[in-house]
């Protein structure tokens, strides 16, 4: 009895001793993973967070037009621009021209009000010679300076922290007074692409499930020798470069390709009305389904491998026919595999880029392709970051929903 009392009193001491005893092992384990942790931090997490911040932060205008930015901050965006504002713009433009940064300013404002690029570049050339009052001399160079929308666009651009890019990613725009508004109809493009991306990803997931389920079942139930051969057939394309597989599909599906040639040869379609199987959504769907199939087959296979045949046998001995035994007993037990495979395929598909770029044509391109476009062509990294952010949020929401419905611990990746 006395011993028990002692143990209770020493509870805290015991915990301390335990921590001390475990400290060495824990710190050793931590040191082992430290290099990888640092590498991920520097090469992966850091750049991603930095890049994502571009979706909210844009210091271009504020940095290059400091006086204008300060003058605009006082302005209510409704009344006529004041002389101080004109003077600030002229002063900033003189500096910007000397530093050869006026082009970047023009590009930045042009995003909020298209068609203003030349207004800045040409006005800047003459800015040094302008004399006060600037509210008259500047509009004399270009009468667009009297347009209040130009000033509103500048005020919007002058905000260092902005939701404007996220708004643009969702086909909206921020007005000078901070309110949101839907983009002009002809400039709406991202929502269409986002929805199409979701649709293609969903269809690819469904096709992969439909094609992958029987394959996984065969893999799990065939005798080891045959199933190993089959597994290699599944894995072989998995190990092949995406580029090679995508270009192979081009050879297969194009108008003069293998599939169309065969269809014409067997008289299933006339020579002058060949199917357009590529450079459209069909092409994207076919190529992506093929490429992502292993992501579905492997988790399913690993789950099915763990289901002993006695379950189906038990169902049959209890009076269930093959169909009932499959639906009521076998299929429910494969749900963790279906969930893992579907989530994996969908998440990989939603960010797919090379394949739609190569075989997507007009209506088969996806949101990643427009992100790439903003990264490399229009150089609007802020919008690219915002689009990437939206994509990430969508994936996270889906992950959360999946966790709610199926439970993430139920997922089995193999």
């Amino acid at each position: 009895m006395a011993d028990t009392a002692n143990v209770e009193i020493d509870d805290k001491l015991l915990k301390k001793r335990l921590d001390k005893a475990l400290f060495k092992n824990r710190s050793r384990a931590f040191l082992l993973v430290l290099p990888l942790l640092l590498f991920l931090l520097v090469a992966f997490i850091g750049p991603i967070l930095y890049f994502l911040s571009h979706g909210f932060i844009d210091k271009t205008f504020a940095a290059l037009m400091p006086q204008t930015t300060e003058a605009l901050s006082e302005w209510d965006a409704v009344s006529d621009p004041t002389e101080e504002m004109f003077a600030a713009v002229v002063a900033d433009m003189v500096v910007a021209r000397k530093n050869k940064t006026i082009g970047r300013v023009a590009t930045r404002v042009n995003r909020d009000k298209p068609g203003t690029r030349s207004l800045f570049t040409s006005s800047a050339r003459k800015a040094a010679k302008l004399e006060a009052p600037f509210s008259e001399s500047l509009p004399a160079v270009k009468k667009d300076w009297n347009d209040i929308e130009v000033w509103q666009a500048m005020k919007t651009a002058s905000r260092q922290y902005t939701l404007g890019y996220y708004a643009a990613a969702l086909d909206m725009k921020v007005n000078a007074d901070g309110s949101f508004e839907r983009q002009d109809e002809k400039r709406r493009i991202h929502m269409t692409l986002l929805l199409r991306t979701m649709q293609i990803s969903f269809l690819v997931t469904v096709f992969c499930l439909a094609l992958g389920y029987p394959v996984a079942y065969l893999l799990a139930t065939l005798p080891a020798r045959t199933s190993n051969l089959l597994l290699i057939l599944v894995l072989l394309p998995f190990w092949t470069s995406i580029l090679v597989r995508t270009t192979a599909w081009i050879a297969m599906l194009q108008a003069q390709g293998v599939v169309n040639d065969l269809l014409v040869f067997f008289g299933m379609t006339p020579d002058d009305a060949r199917f357009s199987l590529i450079y459209n959504k069909t092409g994207t769907l076919i190529a992506m389904t093929h490429i992502l199939l292993p992501f579905m087959v492997l988790p399913l296979y690993s789950v099915m491998k763990g289901i002993p045949p006695s379950y189906v046998r038990a169902a049959k001995s209890l009076g269930a026919n093959n169909w009932t035994a499959f639906w009521r007993v076998y299929a429910p037990q494969t749900i963790p595999g279906i969930g893992a495979g579907a989530l994996l395929v969908f998440i990989v598909a939603i960010g797919y880029y090379i394949t739609p770029a190569l075989v997507g044509g007009q209506d088969g391109t996806m949101i990643s392709n427009i992100i790439d476009d903003h990264m490399r062509k229009s150089l609007n990294w802020n919008l690219a970051a915002a689009l990437g952010g939206v994509l990430m949020v969508i994936v996270m929401v889906l992950y959360y929903v999946y966790d709610r419905i199926v439970g993430i611990d139920n997922m089995k990746l193999g």
Partner: protein, 361 residues
């Protein structure tokens, strides 16, 4: 046993690879209400027989009858045979009650009737109130009971059990043996039970079919199997056994004299020997060997050296060197005046001619 058998195997053969027979020409009748155990080492064909009866493996040759109907071409779900699997095979995504209701549901039974039956079956295995649990929330013994209840809930004439107690620990296994035995007695259902555990078979069965090498070696009630094994395999497989080898020297009616390798004659009961001069294996149960017997009471008496003594509480397991064999076991009961022996002692042992069975080589 005058009524027709419930199950009849007729010249059944089974081969998986087309080269070797796993089951060789099996003929077996299972009577109604009987508890029949198929006992044998692994690979002896007993589980294959059960799978053929359940319909999961087709017979390569021969016919199986259930209630006089040939069932070779009847799919498993139409045979109406309950089955308890080795790993229970309880559906993990269904609750206990749903598991039990499954066979009733596929038989399109009404919900009310089904619930009544499920509750009754759960009560039978003392698991009333566990209906809403998942199988994974139950202990091994409880899962086992659910599996038994599920195999019985749709009132099958025949229940097959494939080593159902293999995964349980020793105490629980013994308890479950009695429970299954009692359920069998209460319901009067016919049970075909497969096991490799001889004590399980001896405890539960009405009759035991001892399998080896795809052939039934002996089919008999438990006591007959132990006391009167037909051949050397059964004698060795069931219970502890002392083996002596020799040649039949004299054969007269039910008795014979076998000369062992050391040249000493042993008087035995001729059960399964051929002619004079044939090889024979003598079988002798350790508890039938007497230490320091009365010379006039036993026909066989030899000197032996004590090699090893193992204290087991109720008896002392004594290994002695006898007639050239050093693996001869004697069970000395731990009674008030049992013989005191030490390792290395020379003792006299003996046994009745009646207790020593001369079997095939």
């Amino acid at each position: 046993m005058s009524n027709k058998p419930l199950v009849r195997f007729q010249n059944v053969q089974k081969s998986y690879d087309g080269k070797t027979l796993v089951v060789k020409d099996l003929n077996l009748d299972v009577e109604k209400g009987e508890f029949l155990t198929m006992l044998g080492p692994s690979g002896s064909g007993k589980t294959t027989c059960l799978m053929m009866l359940a319909g999961f493996e087709p017979a390569t040759h021969g016919e199986i009858y259930l209630n006089d109907e040939p069932i070779n071409n009847v799919p498993p779900h139409k045979r109406g045979i309950g089955m308890v699997f080795q790993n229970y095979a309880l559906f993990p995504h269904m609750s206990v009650a749903e598991n039990l209701a499954f066979p009733l549901e596929v038989r399109k039974m009404s919900a009310a009737e089904s619930k009544k039956r499920v509750d009754k079956a759960l009560d039978m295995v003392q698991l009333g109130g566990f209906g809403n649990r998942r199988p994974s929330q139950l202990s091994g013994g409880q899962q086992q009971r659910v599996a038994v209840a599920r195999a019985l809930v749709f009132d099958p004439d025949l229940v097959l059990m494939d080593e159902p107690l293999g995964a349980l620990d020793k105490n629980l296994r013994e308890q479950m043996q009695y429970e299954i035995k009692h359920i069998h007695e209460t319901l009067g259902v016919t049970v075909v039970y497969v096991t490799h555990d001889q004590s399980e078979a001896l405890t539960m069965s009405n009759r035991i079919a001892v399998f080896n090498d795809g052939v039934i070696q002996q089919l008999a009630p438990p006591d007959a199997l132990y006391e009167r094994p037909d051949n050397a395999f059964v004698a060795q497989f069931i219970g502890e056994n002392n083996k002596l080898r020799g040649t039949v020297e004299e054969l007269e009616g039910d008795y014979c004299v076998v000369r062992t390798q050391t040249g000493a004659p042993v008087y035995a009961r001729a059960v399964n020997v051929g002619r004079k001069g044939d090889e024979s294996t003598l079988s002798l149960r350790p508890e039938r060997v007497l230490i320091d017997p009365d010379a006039s009471a036993v026909q066989n008496m030899f000197e032996a050296r004590v090699l090893e003594l193992i204290y087991l509480g109720d008896h002392i397991r004594t290994r002695i060197e006898l007639l050239g064999r050093d693996d001869f076991i004697v069970k000395v009961p731990n009674s008030a005046n049992h013989a005191l022996m030490r390792e290395g002692d020379i003792v006299t042992v003996g046994w009745l001619q009646e207790d020593c069975r001369a079997l095939d080589a």
